[in-house]
C-alpha cells in the first residue's frame, strides 16, 4: 500500500485557507555550522484549519465543530466522511446520523430479523447487530444538539467508541480506531437557534477537540468565500467523490499513538502545568480551585490572577488528546511540506491546547461578560498568557530533566548577562571571582502567576531517578 499523500487528504469541496495555527519549525535536513550546531533558520510554519482536521483524523481524535449557520461545518464533515472514509453507502467506512429528537441509535447499528415461517417472535434472537456498521471507522452526527439531552446520552457511546448490544459492550471501529465527529449550532449568547438543546458537558468533554468556526482564525477567508460562491449555485452540501483512505489512516494512526505513548519530559511538564498547576488557587482555604472557580475570581485580589482566573485545570481526557495532536501536527507538517520538519514540543502542545475551548475549563463568567461568548478568542488569549509561563518553564526544564533543583542564578560576566543553574561549585566560583548574582526559582515564579507547584519536586525526583 502506498503511503498517504497530502493531496489525497485535500478536501474536494470544503474550502478554508485561513491560518489556524503557526508553529516555529526547522525544515529540511540538519545543516551543522562550524561549532556543530544546527544552522537551519527557524521558519514559521502555517497550518490551515483543514490541516488541523487532517491531523486530528490521523490521531483518531474526536472532533466537534460549532458555529453559526453557513460556516461550512456540515460540508467539512461530509468531505471527511466521503473523501477519507468512503461515504456511508454499502462499501463505505462511514456512519452518518442527523441529530434530531426522533434519533434512535439502534437505527444505526441494529436490524430486526423476523422469521415468518416459524410464527414465533423472540426479541433476543430477532434483534441483530449490523456488524458491518459497527466496524466502520467514522461516526458523524450532524447538528447533534438538535437532539434533546436524553438522546444526546446515546452519543456518549459513539464518542467512547463503544456500543452496548444485549448487555454486551462492543468496540466500534477497528484496531481501537473509531473517529467521532459532530457539528452543532451553539447558542453562544442570545439563544438564536430555536430547536436546539444545550450540549451535555460530558459530551463536550468526549469531543477531544473543539473547533469554533465562527472564530476569525478558523473561518474561511473572504477569498475562500468567493471560491465557494463561484463554484456552486446550489447552496446545499456537495457530496464528495467516495475515496477510502482508511487503511492508510490506520497505519499512520498506529505510528502516532506509539510515539505519543512514550514518556516525554517536556509533555509531562506541560501536563502538570495545565493540570495541577491550573487547578491551584492561592486564595482558597484548601488551595484548589474547586467551588471557588469561577465565582470568586472576579473579587479575588491576588496580584498574579491574570492567568489563573481565566482557566482551571484540564481534565484527564483533554491532556492526552493534546499530546497526540501535537505528534499528529508534526506528521502532517512533514506530509504537507514533503520534507523533514522539526517542531518544538512545547510550541506544538500549546497550539493543540487551543482546541480544548469547550471542555469546561474556561471561566464562563469572564467568557460571557468580557468576551461576549467568544470563547475561542478568550482561549487564544489565555494560551498566549500560558505561553509566557511555558517560556519561563523552558529555562528550567533542561536542568530539571538533568535532576537539578530549578533555581537559576544570573550574573554579569564580561559585559553579558549569564544565566546558569544554581550549583554549589558555580556559586563558589562566582564568589571567588567576586561576581554578585541574583537567584530565581521556578516554584517562586509559578506561584507569582497563581499556579500550583506541588508537582515540581516529584517531577525533579523522578527525572533524577531516570537519569
Amino acid at each position: 500500500m502506498n503511503e498517504l499523500t497530502y493531496d489525497e487528504l485535500k478536501f474536494p469541496n470544503y474550502v478554508n485557507s485561513n491560518t489556524a495555527i503557526r508553529l516555529r519549525a526547522k525544515v529540511g535536513e540538519p545543516e551543522l555550522d562550524r561549532e556543530g550546531k544546527d544552522a537551519r533558520p527557524l521558519k514559521t510554519l502555517e497550518l490551515t484549519l483543514s490541516d488541523v482536521v487532517y491531523a486530528a483524523e490521523l490521531a483518531g481524535l474526536n472532533m466537534l465543530f460549532v458555529s453559526d449557520t453557513g460556516r461550512g461545518k456540515t460540508q467539512l464533515m461530509s468531505d471527511v466522511a466521503w473523501h477519507h472514509y468512503g461515504g456511508d453507502q454499502e462499501t463505505g467506512q462511514a456512519n452518518w446520523a442527523d441529530g434530531r429528537p426522533s434519533f434512535d441509535i439502534t437505527d444505526l447499528f441494529e436490524r430486526t430479523r423476523v422469521d415468518l415461517d416459524s410464527g414465533k417472535f423472540d426479541s433476543d434472537t430477532a434483534r441483530q447487530v449490523k456488524e458491518e456498521r459497527v466496524k466502520r471507522l467514522f461516526f458523524g452526527v450532524d447538528e447533534i444538539n438538535r437532539a434533546p439531552g436524553p438522546k444526546q446520552n446515546e452519543f456518549f457511546d459513539l464518542a467512547d467508541g463503544k456500543y452496548t448490544f444485549n448487555g454486551k459492550r462492543l468496540n466500534l471501529g477497528e484496531d481501537g480506531y473509531a473517529l467521532f465527529m459532530a457539528t452543532a449550532n451553539l447558542n453562544k449568547l442570545n439563544g438564536d437557534f430555536s430547536g436546539t438543546f444545550e450540549l451535555d458537558r460530558a459530551l463536550l468533554n468526549r469531543a477531544h477537540l473543539t473547533f469554533d468556526l465562527d472564530h476569525p482564525n478558523f473561518r474561511p477567508t473572504p477569498e475562500d468565500e468567493m471560491v465557494i460562491e463561484e463554484r456552486k449555485a446550489n447552496p446545499k452540501v456537495d457530496l464528495a467523490p467516495a475515496q477510502d483512505l482508511t487503511g492508510k489512516i490506520l497505519t499512520i494512526n498506529k505510528k502516532i499513538l506509539t510515539a505519543a505513548k512514550q514518556l516525554d519530559p517536556y509533555f509531562t511538564a506541560f501536563r502538570f502545568l495545565v493540570g495541577r498547576g491550573l487547578d491551584y488557587c492561592d486564595t482558597d482555604k484548601y488551595k484548589e480551585k474547586g467551588a471557588a472557580f469561577p465565582m470568586l475570581c472576579n473579587e479575588c485580589g491576588y496580584t498574579g490572577k491574570d492567568l489563573c482566573s481565566m482557566i482551571k485545570g484540564s481534565s484527564e481526557r483533554s491532556i492526552p488528546a493534546v499530546k497526540t495532536l501535537a505528534y499528529a501536527l508534526s506528521y502532517l507538517a512533514e506530509l504537507k511540506l514533503g520534507e523533514k520538519v522539526e517542531i518544538d514540543p512545547l510550541d506544538a502542545v500549546l497550539q493543540a491546547f487551543r482546541f480544548t475551548t469547550y471542555h469546561g475549563n474556561l471561566n464562563e463568567l469572564v467568557a460571557q461578560e468580557e468576551y461576549a461568548a467568544r470563547n475561542q478568542t478568550m482561549m487564544d488569549e489565555t494560551v498566549e498568557k500560558l505561553s509566557g509561563v511555558v517560556n519561563t518553564l523552558r529555562d528550567y526544564l533542561p536542568m530539571m530533566i538533568a535532576g537539578q533543583d530549578p533555581t537559576i542564578i544570573s550574573y554579569q560576566f564580561q559585559g553579558n548577562r549569564v544565566k546558569a543553574p544554581k550549583d554549589q561549585k558555580t556559586v563558589q566560583a562566582l564568589n571567588k571571582a567576586n561576581i554578585s548574582f541574583q537567584e530565581t526559582n521556578l516554584k517562586k515564579e509559578l506561584k507569582e502567576k497563581g499556579l500550583g507547584v506541588d508537582w515540581v519536586d516529584p517531577y525533579v525526583k523522578r527525572m533524577k531517578e531516570l537519569k
Binding site: 550546531k37 501535537a326 514540543p345 498568557k385 564580561q414 559585559g415 566560583a429
Partner: protein, 289 residues
C-alpha cells in the same frame, strides 16, 4: 515516514548555561581591575576585520545588518571600509576637523530602523512580510555611536548621542573602555540614584525613564512606539527593557550604548566592554529606478 519524539528547538535565545559550561567560563577568570596604563589601552597588534566577521546576515530593505565583529572598533572599521568602497553612500557621516567621516548610527537611529522595519508590512513585490521578517532587526543587538561616560566614584553618567571618541576609535582598540576626562565630556548628565537602573521596567516606566528618553533624544513618540512593539511581541512579560549601567566606577570611562535583542528583553546596555563584539547597522544604498 516515521514519527520521532519531538525535540525541543533552539530558538537562539541567550539560554541558561549548563553547570559545566558556566564553570568552564568562570575558570581562570580574574576579577575586573582598571587598566594599568589607561592612556595606552591594550591593542591587538594585527587586527583583521574581515577575518573576524561572523554571521554575515544581509537584510534587504533600508538597512543591512553588518557581519558581527569581535570588537566594537572592528565593527566601526568595517563600516569605514564599506563606506570608502562606495557601498553605503547614504550612510550618515559627521564632519570632524573638515573631514567627512562615516559614523555608526545613533542609538535613536537604530531604534527608528527597527520600528520602521517592523512597521513595513509588505515586500517590494507586494507580498506580505511575515512576523519573522519584520522582527529581523530585533534578533541581534545593535551597537551605536552613542557614548555613555561614567564619573569615577559617583553614580553620575552622561549620554552622548553622537560620540566623537567612539566614531574615531582606532581599529585595533580592544580595551574594555576608553579612558576619558568625564568633566570635559559634553552630554546629558544623569544619576543612577535618581531612577530605576539594572532592572526590568514596565512600559510606563520605560516611556518616562530619563536615560531611555535621553538615549532616544527625547523622542517620546518613538520610544512609545518602540515599547509598544517590544511589549506586544513579548506579551507574556509585564516588565522588559531594562537600562543597564556600570556601577562601582574606579576611573572615568567611556563605553558605547547598545540596544539588546528581543530575546534579551530589548534592554539598553551601557555596561558592556568595547572589546566584546560589535554589531552595527548599515544604511542600504538607495535602489536605482
Amino acid at each position: 515516514m516515521t514519527i520521532k519524539t519531538l525535540k525541543p528547538l533552539d530558538f537562539g535565545n541567550r539560554r541558561v548555561l549548563t553547570t559545566e559550561e558556566a564553570l568552564a567560563q568562570l575558570e581562570g577568570y580574574v576579577p575586573e581591575k582598571p587598566p594599568q596604563n589607561p592612556t595606552n589601552p591594550p591593542i591587538d597588534p594585527d587586527p583583521d576585520p574581515n577575518g573576524d566577521l561572523e554571521g554575515s546576515v544581509e537584510i534587504t530593505g533600508s538597512h543591512i545588518l553588518m557581519p558581527q565583529t569581535s570588537t566594537y572598533a572592528l565593527g566601526v572599521q568595517a563600516l569605514r571600509d564599506v563606506y570608502s568602497e562606495g557601498k553605503c553612500p547614504d550612510h550618515p557621516v559627521i564632519e570632524i576637523a573638515g573631514s567627512r567621516i562615516v559614523r555608526p548610527l545613533t542609538f535613536k537611529e537604530n531604534i527608528e530602523a527597527r520600528v520602521n522595519d517592523y512597521k513595513t508590512l509588505t515586500n517590494p513585490d507586494g507580498s506580505e512580510r511575515t512576523k519573522e521578517e519584520r522582527l529581523r532587526l530585533f534578533n541581534r543587538w545593535l551597537d551605536s555611536s552613542c557614548g555613555i561616560a561614567y564619573k569615577a566614584g559617583t553614580t553620575k553618567f552622561k549620554i552622548i548621542p553622537v560620540c566623537k571618541e567612539l566614531i574615531e576609535v582606532v581599529k585595533n582598540f580592544n580595551g574594555e573602555y576608553l579612558p576619558i576626562n568625564y568633566d570635559k565630556v559634553v552630554g546629558t548628565e544623569l544619576d543612577r540614584s535618581n531612577a530605576k537602573y539594572d532592572t526590568l521596567l514596565t512600559k510606563a516606566e520605560v516611556i518616562e525613564h530619563p536615560a531611555w528618553r535621553t538615549a532616544v533624544e527625547d523622542d517620546k513618540e518613538l520610544l512609545k512606539d518602540y515599547a509598544d512593539i517590544i511589549f506586544t511581541e513579548k506579551k507574556s512579560a509585564n516588565k522588559l527593557m531594562s537600562f543597564w549601567t556600570r556601577s562601582n566606577i574606579a576611573q572615568d570611562q567611556l563605553r558605547a550604548l547598545f540596544v539588546d535583542n528581543l530575546n534579551d528583553n530589548s534592554s539598553a546596555n551601557g555596561s558592556d566592554y568595547l572589546s566584546n563584539y560589535g554589531s552595527f547597522l548599515q544604511v542600504a544604498p538607495s535602489k536605482k529606478p
